[in-house]
Symmetry: C2
Subunit: 360 residues, 2 copies
């Protein structure tokens, strides 16, 4: 087995080696029962503790109060782009757009009703984040939606958005569990699991009880948060393997000291790479404005697309994988989620220095 | 490791041991790349051959013509209950209801438009199947929907329904890949993977090209078959681990001789158990009428609920797991999907005989 690869993928992304090792060890016989966790009924006595552990894990790590439900759904954040307005957009909804994912969320919401884009940083190239006092909510907004970390553009909110009475809905796919957040600021948080929580195919939803009362009657069952919550994520067969991995990741995070400890390590990793960018005399140019820089996705450019291509190829040959920027923006993207080791950040910076010396 | 358990779960269900062993062996380093298949981008060069193998596997096994698309979605058959009418119900739809799942499909379709239940066996307890000439389609039906095998009730269609020009939509969740079918009889087939294809969290959809043209404009992207097909199942991040398992199951099926060979083994397994029921002098009573008996889910009752409970408990203690009938109908259900071994059917029959001797 070769685990010397540093995996900078934006998602699906690196998982903790200890989690993978545990999953491997019991893949054929989960807890010694003679069956894989993939082979048992989601309603069996074998799976019930797995779902409970995943729920409890998220609840403890993020300090989620009792009046919030924790769900594990399917379809990724992209299905949430539709489910949120289908369930909660009655009059109008405010959207804050700071990157490509926020833009996609708007596109789906517009199919449901009136959308007010109360702030967009598109014209300046999705490089910045609004200050809290820049946001003016609409009087008739049913909710305000934002994306707390834009994976493609590499910009991140440094604060929990305050809805000032308007329910806040947040796509936290790429920075959930990377730092402590104040859950009570939110009405609903969703996140595709494949960055910081587990494998792809699971969507975490944390939703405040009172919001469930607003779901319209006659909603399609699988798109109905109230129905899904009433059955505790088991309205139909959930992604059992995915939920199992989530439970293991939560256990790993708790052993590592939880999200506060993670935040420190994540700051350290990001600083190592951003410092290398800033000290490169302009050879590497960070995409995001400094105050908006994401701790999860470090995006930067090189002097030419040719050099960027060469950078990605040579990095991969040196065991640094997944550094190619998203096809929509190009450049380089180093995703350094919770499971990504500090040594990997050092390895990247060493490679960057070497690359500059050879090509600068 | 203890693999002597015979797993009769209805879904998630038993997977081929060879598939699990392969997945286990390369869980930490897929194809020697130093990363798990769960950790690589769905758009990477590592995952592209996995998706291709899963698609090609299904296409070859079921002899799917080129004018059909093969998709791997999320949300299970239950989300298809909504997606089918959302995309194709314009005037009205015909539904054939022979069990609990067909009933659920009707419930969701009614939220979209006019539904004609052209045949239901509910009043007689979901024990029978219609003869082909019993079905009279509505002149204005956009499609006719049926469920080819009802997992809960244990009844199965023995023929591919002929829509006589009306597009046929089929929920084949629990008997797909268990026998050869004539794909060209269908406009759209869908199936939750967790019975015969792989783990839960993947939904197989086989859809004829011309149907995609009927998807209404402004459909929600994640519920839009045309958009999903245009991106080859990668409109957003799919369940990569699940699709990987599907590719391995397809490979295993081909090695075993494909679906024709499977059909023979499935007939043999089912016959072993049904014969034991029929020869029990009424101690065991099959739920389904003989001509409607499912080869996948053998459902039967005992003289009392007390005895059924005892049967399930003692069977589990003897290494026969997952025999409890669905909570909505009770009794015993022995699910014997492709991956379930013939020896397991014999083991069940031995146990049944012993149980009768002790309690008959």
């Amino acid at each position: 087995m070769n685990r010397r690869i540093y995996n900078f993928s934006a998602g699906p992304a690196i998982l903790p080696a200890e989690v993978l090792e545990k999953a491997q060890a019991e893949l054929l016989s989960f807890g010694g029962i003679g069956m894989s966790v993939m082979e048992v009924s989601h309603r069996s006595k074998y799976f019930a503790p797995v779902l409970e552990a995943a729920e409890k894990g998220v609840r403890e790590l993020l300090n989620v109060p009792e009046n919030y439900r924790i769900l594990f759904l399917q379809g990724g954040a992209s299905l949430q782009f539709s489910m949120v307005p289908l369930n909660f957009l009655k009059t109008a909804a405010d959207y804050v757009v700071t990157g490509a994912w926020g833009e996609k969320a708007v596109k789906e919401a517009k199919k449901c009703g009136r959308v007010n884009v109360i702030l967009s940083t598109k014209d300046s190239g999705y490089k910045s984040m609004p200050a809290p006092d820049e946001l003016n909510f609409s009087a008739d907004a049913d909710y305000v939606h934002y994306c707390s970390n834009e994976t493609i553009d590499g910009v991140e909110f440094k604060y929990d958005l305050d809805g000032k009475g308007i329910p806040v809905v947040c796509d936290a796919s790429s920075n959930i569990l990377s730092k402590p957040i104040d859950i009570e600021k939110y009405a609903l948080i969703y996140a595709g699991a494949q960055k910081n929580i587990g494998p792809s195919g699971v969507t975490l939803v944390i939703v405040r009880d009172d919001l469930l009362e607003k779901v319209p009657e006659n909603q399609f069952s699988m798109l109905d948060y109230r129905a899904l919550a009433a059955q505790d994520s088991m309205l139909n067969t959930p992604n059992t393997w995915g939920i199992y991995l989530v439970s293991l990741v939560c256990e790993w995070l708790k052993e590592k000291g939880g999200v506060a400890a993670m935040a420190k390590i994540n700051e350290e990793k990001a600083k190592i790479i951003y410092d290398a960018i800033d000290r490169s005399d302009g050879f590497y140019r960070g995409h995001a404005d400094q105050p908006a820089r994401s701790l999860m996705n470090v995006t930067f450019r090189l002097p030419s697309e040719e050099l960027e291509k060469q950078f990605v190829t040579e990095a991969a040959a040196s065991g640094l994988d997944g550094l190619k920027g998203h096809r929509s923006v190009g450049g380089i993207r180093a995703s350094v989620y919770n499971a990504f080791p500090v040594e990997g950040a050092h390895a990247l910076v060493d490679f960057m220095r070497d690359f500059t010396q050879r090509n600068g």
